[in-house]
Symmetry: C2
């Protein structure tokens, strides 16, 4: 018998899936076509290898990412979105557009460090 978590609103449930620093960006980075590990590393700016695989694993468990191993040497692995992941990516679209629209303003905001 598994423990089930209860969420007080849909947003909380969504954040259980894509919360954290990297998952959104990875999800976005994968996009509609499959991507190789090294490719993702380049496209998700600033992520470390450790974080990338760690998050990818969790996302696979959560059913938003599918991992395909070609069993070749040198290794070749492709990550792609499941239908569940694709749906999630779509609802992030508006948030992404909002960010693009206000990018300048956001970039000029004071940091906590500036304040302290």
């Amino acid at each position: 018998m598994k423990k089930k978590r209860a969420y007080s609103c849909g947003l909380e449930a969504s954040l259980a899936i894509i919360g954290g620093k990297w998952k959104c960006l990875i999800l976005w980075g994968i996009g509609q076509d499959a991507r190789r590990f090294g490719e993702l590393k380049r496209v998700v700016a600033g992520i470390s290898e450790k974080m990338l695989i760690q998050e990818l694993k969790e996302m696979e468990l959560d059913g938003i990412v599918k991992r395909k191993d070609f069993h070749e040497i040198p290794p070749r692995v492709e990550y792609s979105l499941t239908p569940f992941g694709t749906e999630l990516r779509e609802v992030l679209q508006p948030l992404c557009e909002w960010g693009t629209k206000h990018m300048k303003r956001i970039g000029n905001l004071p940091t906590q460090k500036d304040v302290a």
Copy 2:
């Protein structure tokens, strides 16, 4: 001359504003009407006072929340969304709906602890 940050995509900019564990939920909790501090504490399930004020301050600096102090005693303070914040809240709507739609599935997902 302020240092400006550059974001490689809109999503990264958005996350600079509502990243972290609580900001999304606070933003959502404030909603279209103003809310008092204590009210927010109740509506944002599980947040501590410390986190709540800390995040509210940052959100105020970021221009998504407005704080109104009535200078009464006992103290009375109301938090509401600025137009900027309201816009942001709107783009979170789809994400919230997605979470509601898949809440059952998400609640049954294995945790990292289950796996370890």
